[in-house]
C-alpha cells in the first residue's frame, strides 16, 4: 500500500523483473503524473487482454493517471470486461463477488481509516454498468445512503459485453442486442438522478473524448470522496464489439454520443462545492509560494 513496502532491499533490485524495476524508477508513484506526460513514464497498467480499440481500455488507462495517490489506493471491481485490465494494474485490486463491490469497498475504506489514521487511503470502485446498475445496484445505492467516503466509477458500455450482448439497465430503450433480439424494454436508468437523490457529494458524467478532463475528473472525485462523502463518475465507454463500431471509428462514436446524449455534466453538493473551491484556492496559493 506504499512504495516503501514494495521497494526492493538494496542490492536485490537488479534481480527483480524489468517491469518491476521500471515501475520503481519511472513509475507514477509518489507524484501526480499528467496526461500530457503519457509516453514519458512507466504506467501502472499495461499489457492486458482487453479488445483492440476499446474505449473502456482508454478510459481505465486515464483513470490510473488521474488517481491522486496510486500508492495509497485500493480498487474494487467485479465480473465484467474492465476487470481484465484492472486486475493487472500495479495497484491493489479486490475482485468482489458480483453484487458486492460497494459493500466490500465500505468495509475496506472503514478498516483502512482505522488502521492508517495519519495517511489518507483511497478506495475506488470501478466496474461496469451491469455490475453497478443491475447486479450491484443495491450495494451501490446503500453505500451512498450511508455516505461512505469512496468513489464509484461506472464503466458504462451499455451492454453485458463480456457475456455476449445482453441488455443492461443502462442500455438505451429499444436497442436490439444479440441477446436482446426484441429490443431493450425500458429507459436507460437515470443513475445521476439517483445519485443526487441519495446524497452523493459529487457526480460526473463523462466520455473519453478529452483525456485531461477524464484524469482531472477522477482526481476531483477521489479527493472529494476523501474529505466529504461518496462520489460517482458515470463514463461512456463504448463496446465496439457488441455495438459493431469499427475500431478506427471508436473515437468518432464517443464524440457523437457525447454530443447527442452523454455530454460532460458535473454536480456538486453544497458541502462538496465549498470544499472543492477552498482546496483549489489552497493549491493555487501553495503553487504560487513554491515559485
Amino acid at each position: 500500500m506504499s512504495l516503501k513496502t514494495i521497494q526492493a532491499a538494496p542490492g536485490f533490485q537488479d534481480y527483480l523483473p524489468k517491469e518491476y524495476q521500471d515501475l520503481l524508477e519511472d513509475g507514477p508513484f509518489f507524484q501526480q503524473r499528467k496526461v500530457s506526460e503519457l509516453g514519458s513514464f512507466k504506467e501502472a497498467i499495461e499489457e492486458h487482454p482487453m479488445c483492440a480499440g476499446c474505449a473502456m481500455t482508454l478510459f481505465i488507462r486515464l483513470v490510473y493517471v488521474g488517481l491522486p495517490s496510486l500508492e495509497h489506493t485500493v480498487i474494487c471491481g467485479t465480473a465484467g470486461c474492465g476487470r481484465l485490465a484492472i486486475s493487472q494494474g500495479a495497484v491493489p485490486f479486490v475482485y468482489g463477488n458480483y453484487g458486492d463491490t460497494n459493500a466490500v469497498a465500505t468495509g475496506l475504506k472503514r478498516g483502512l481509516d482505522i488502521r492508517f489514521k495519519d495517511q489518507p487511503k483511497d478506495v475506488v470502485v470501478m466496474a461496469g454498468d451491469g455490475g453497478l446498475a443491475d447486479i450491484g445496484f443495491h450495494a451501490v445505492m446503500h453505500s451512498w445512503f450511508r455516505k461512505e467516503k469512496f468513489t464509484t466509477i461506472m464503466l458504462d458500455n451499455e451492454v453485458y459485453g463480456n457475456t455476449g450482448g445482453q441488455d443492461s439497465g443502462m442500455t438505451q430503450k429499444g436497442m436490439v442486442m444479440k441477446m436482446a433480439p426484441t429490443g431493450k424494454k425500458f429507459e436507460k436508468m437515470d443513475m445521476l438522478g439517483l445519485a443526487k437523490t441519495a446524497g452523493v457529494a459529487y457526480t460526473a458524467r463523462i466520455s473519453p473524448t478529452n483525456p485531461t478532463r477524464v484524469a482531472n475528473t477522477v482526481r476531483k472525485a477521489v479527493l472529494i470522496a476523501r474529505e466529504v462523502g461518496p462520489t460517482f463518475i458515470q463514463a461512456y465507454t463504448s463496446c465496439n464489439i457488441e455495438y459493431a463500431i469499427p475500431t478506427p471509428k471508436v473515437m468518432d462514436d464517443a464524440r457523437e454520443v457525447e454530443k447527442d446524449r452523454y455530454g460532460y455534466l458535473e454536480y456538486f453538493s453544497d458541502e462538496a462545492k465549498t470544499y472543492w473551491e477552498e482546496s483549489e484556492k489552497e493549491r493555487k496559493r501553495l503553487r504560487k509560494a513554491e515559485k
Binding site: K18, E19, Q21, D22, D26, V35, S36, L38, G39, S40, K42, E43, A44, I45, E46, E47, M50, C51, A52, G53, C54, A55, T57, L58, R61, Y64, P211, T212, T247, P248, K249, V250, M251, D252
Partner: protein, 89 residues
C-alpha cells in the same frame, strides 16, 4: 498478417503534439522519446486499432501515423525486450 501503427519521426518531431500518446487505449504502447521529440510505437503491444491514425489525421492534422503490416516494420521497438525507456537515443 496484422498491421501495427508506425510513426513518421520526421513529421512527428516537428510538432510538440503528443496527442496519440493520450488517446491510445493501451498503456506504454505509444511512447515518447524526449531526446528526439517524437512519439514511437512499441510494436509488440500495438493491437492495431488505428485510433491513433484518426487522432493524428483528424484532430492533430499531422498525418504522421500509418498502419503497416508487422513484417514490413523496420527496427520496430519491442518494449518486452528492453523495458521502459525515456529515450531510445
Amino acid at each position: 498478417m496484422y498491421t501495427v501503427a508506425e510513426i513518421d519521426v520526421e513529421i512527428c518531431s516537428s510538432t510538440k503534439c503528443r496527442l496519440c500518446t493520450q488517446f491510445c487505449p493501451e498503456g506504454n504502447t505509444i511512447l515518447y522519446d524526449e531526446t528526439r521529440g517524437t512519439a514511437y510505437v512499441a510494436v509488440d503491444r500495438c493491437k492495431g486499432c488505428e485510433i491513433c491514425v484518426g487522432i493524428c489525421d483528424d484532430l492533430a492534422k499531422h498525418h504522421a501515423i500509418k498502419m503497416v503490416p508487422i513484417d514490413q516494420v523496420k527496427d520496430g521497438f519491442e518494449i518486452s525486450k528492453v523495458g521502459f525507456k525515456r529515450s531510445l537515443v
